[in-house]
């Protein structure tokens, strides 16, 4: 679409009222790849993207406008001012990736202008599409244009890369627990704070300085961001190669869009950080279309209109009831429990910030090894009352999954359950606290990496704890935490051999400790 086009964004569905978007002049519209595909196979916008990738792939890796260099900005074995600078496990995760997409899109657009396979109208209005995988089948599958080894012309398809998860490559779909942003969008606070062993990441990540990885992460960075990375697999599964897979950029456009969705929520209103240490103090470096150095700060990218783009819609079509239940932690899920929490869309526990540190209540004594099967670990949170922090009944309860290390990029995220009573999958959701996506586990295990301290996930389980306590389901002497692998849904007609391929050997993942903190 041309610059200056007026856009009326659709109201969000299923998540309460939204801010009025109004009609504002914008330059370009980022559109849903699946809507483009459904409108026309190999839609001109998709063909244009393939051309951009082909042209960027033809450039030497030392050229800042090559795909290899752009991918190295995200992750690389050697670091400099531009390369290996992606921001993870930090409140800069969202703004850094918005900047990264912005300059990548500019480079793509410049490349497209040189292609004779792209018509002039597409050249004028092209913007990166996004992959909204959260609209059920088939949107939870890789778009067809990314699965075909060849283009309709019979040329090698630049959007196809080998090595992805075999099920995804064959049209398998990601389960909702991987694709849903419902839990992330329910977070009221952009950040979960800074410091302390039980600091959760909030919606957008914990307060840090420049941070390439390591430490607790924000809810959106975990799911769907990290979970989709790991589930797509192949190059997408690793910091250093993710940008080489063309689907990476569409995935991150969706994460960028979800930041907008979160910001537009009004019950209650959300707000981005406004302190100098987020808005202006940290400068990030990128390369423009000529390869020159450009800098940006987070405060300059809060509004996408300032960057001359908008998304075509901000809805969350799948505000799934089962995931909403997890978010709301309705105590009535447990017979005999009375409501401990006020009604409302999101869990309000995150608003409670006691003026005292979180105390370790219990932890596993031995590491937990994930090998692709369901595994459980038990431990006690019964501490001598004389040593327990006052008040004895915690106001907030955190489950930490920490010191996670992997021998290579993991291929499967795991869903985490507390006190799962049996193997009945129909009741699983009541006990789920979220996913450990494991994206970046290999990098966080490399002694040569910037942050070799392993991955860490912090889940706020206050509401679940309170509900279980009231229902008599919380046994201080035996807290059981279960990890279940979350696998791709098999494509229709998948053979037994194919199913076997899906269960290919994966690098062992070791969880150093599972712990519960009371605050």
């Amino acid at each position: 679409m041309n610059s200056g086009e007026k856009v009326v964004a659709t109201a969000r569905e299923g998540q309460g009222p939204s801010k009025d978007l109004g009609t504002e002049p914008v330059t370009r519209i980022r559109r849903d790849i699946w809507k483009l595909e459904q409108a026309q196979q190999w839609h001109p916008a998709i063909t244009a993207y393939a051309e951009a990738i082909r042209i960027m792939n033809s450039r030497p890796a030392s050229n800042p406008t090559s795909l290899a260099y752009q991918a190295a900005i995200h992750g690389n074995t050697a670091a400099d001012t531009w390369r290996n600078t992606c921001q993870h496990a930090t409140w800069f995760f969202l703004p850094w990736h918005r900047m990264y997409l912005y300059w990548f899109e500019q480079i793509c657009r410049a490349a497209i202008q040189t292609s004779d396979k792209v018509d002039s109208a597409t050249k004028a209005g092209w913007a990166l599409p996004y992959w909204n995988y959260d609209r059920g089948s088939p949107t939870n599958q890789l778009p067809q244009a990314f699965r075909d080894p060849e283009t309709p012309d019979g040329d090698p398809n630049p959007l196809f890369v080998p090595g992805r998860n075999p099920s995804m490559a064959a049209g398998g779909g990601m389960p909702a627990s991987v694709t849903s942003a419902t839990a992330a969008l329910a977070k009221h606070n952009f950040t979960g704070g800074s410091g302390g062993p039980a600091t959760s990441g909030g919606f957008g990540g914990p307060i840090t300085g420049f941070n390439h990885g390591g430490g607790a992460i924000g809810e959106l960075e975990n799911v769907p961001h990290g979970a989709v990375h790991v589930t797509v697999g192949g190059q997408m599964g690793s910091f250093n190669t993710a940008g080489l897979d063309p689907i990476f950029w569409l995935h991150h456009c969706n994460i960028d869009r979800l930041w907008e969705v979160w910001d537009r929520q009004t019950s209650p209103g959300r707000s981005n950080p406004d302190t100098d240490n987020w808005t202006t103090d940290q400068t990030f470096h990128f390369r423009d279309t000529s390869g020159a150095d450009v800098t940006q700060v987070s405060g300059g990218v809060v509004n996408t209109r300032d960057l001359n783009y908008v998304y075509d819609q901000f809805s969350v079509p799948f505000a799934r009831p089962d995931i909403l239940q997890k978010v709301q932690r309705i105590p009535l899920l447990f017979p005999g429990a009375r409501s401990a929490l006020p009604e409302g869309f999101a869990a309000p526990a995150e608003e409670v910030r006691p003026d005292r540190p979180a105390e370790l209540a219990g932890a596993t004594e031995e590491p937990v090894v994930l090998t692709g099967e369901t595994v459980a670990a038990s431990f006690s949170t019964a501490t001598n009352a004389a040593f327990r922090a006052k008040p004895a009944e915690p106001e907030r309860v955190f489950l930490n999954v920490e010191e996670i290390r992997a021998e290579g990029p993991p291929g499967t995220p795991y869903e985490v359950f507390v006190n799962l009573p049996d193997d009945d999958e129909t009741t699983d959701d009541h006990y789920s606290v979220g996913l450990v996506s494991l994206f970046g586990a290999a990098e966080a295990s490399d002694p040569e990496s910037e942050h070799p301290e392993g991955l860490k996930y912090v889940f706020d389980i206050t509401d679940l704890y309170q509900a279980m306590k009231q229902a008599g389901l919380w046994n201080e002497a035996d807290v059981k935490v279960t990890f279940k692998p979350v696998r791709v849904e098999m494509p229709e007609g998948a053979s037994a051999a194919f199913a076997e391929a899906e269960r290919r050997p994966e690098p062992a993942v070791t969880i150093g400790r599972v712990s519960v903190f009371f605050q």
Partner: protein, 237 residues
């Protein structure tokens, strides 16, 4: 309003009291910091002993003053991840085991210097060791050692397993710290008490490199500083 807020209304508190209380809670490693501070005070007021045991005692004081501060973030991590009733014990086990290698190596080095009798070469030893430290700053081995200083271990919650894990982490951290900072401590070992000013500079470098997330990026600045200090000692005496 949340259910929790209704359950436990917070009393009105003065702002600075809250800040102090928050600081107190968030820094369980404050006891170790006090030990380092006490070592600095002792070094300020202690005379320069030239006896064997006086030099050994002096080394231990310098060790506490200079090597505990860079270890405070790791101590904080261990203490915050230990149960409340065993927090101080965990911190002491970590600090003790991490300083063990330093103490043994230092005792041997200081003893050797005393036995050989290098007092007459003090100026050259001090200046030369500062230049060695400057060169070490720029090596890949130093960079790797600094990264290893940030590696942690899972800590079991209770009992001897927890104690052993604290000691194991302390030994591993101490080893990494030794590899990273041996050259910074070399002047102390060779020249005895080289003056509080120089000690502050060396401690500042060690703390900055270990505490700052990308401390190894300070290597060039540290190398320049150490070179200038070394040349000043050699030229000016």
């Amino acid at each position: 309003m949340t259910a929790t807020a209704a359950r436990s209304p917070e009393p009105v508190r003065i702002g600075w009291v809250c800040s102090l209380r928050r600081f107190w809670h968030r820094h369980p490693e404050r006891g170790l910091a006090a030990v380092a501070l006490a070592a600095w005070v002792a070094l300020l007021f202690a005379g320069h002993s030239h006896s064997f045991w006086g030099r050994q005692a002096n080394w231990l004081l310098m060790l506490a003053a200079m090597m505990i501060p860079p270890a405070l973030p790791m101590a904080r991590h261990v203490m915050q991840n230990s149960k409340r009733h065993r927090r101080q014990r965990a911190g002491l086990l970590l600090a003790g085991s991490s300083l063990l290698l330093w103490a043994v190596a230092g005792a041997a080095g200081v003893g050797l210097v005393w036995v050989i009798g290098l007092e007459g070469y003090r100026r050259w030893l001090l200046g030369g060791s500062l230049l060695v430290a400057a060169v070490w700053e720029l090596t890949p081995a130093k960079r790797r050692a600094l990264k290893a200083c940030h590696r942690t271990l899972p800590l079991p919650p209770d009992g001897r397993k927890a104690d052993r894990a604290c000691c194991r982490l302390g030994v591993r951290y101490g080893g990494a710290c030794f590899r990273a900072c041996w050259a910074l401590m070399l002047p102390m070992m060779l020249a005895g008490h080289p003056g509080v000013g120089l000690m502050l500079v060396l401690t500042g470098i060690a703390v900055a490199e270990e505490v700052v997330r990308k401390g190894y990026r300070l290597a060039s600045a540290a190398a320049v500083l150490l070179t200038v200090a070394g040349m000043m000692v050699l030229v000016l005496g």
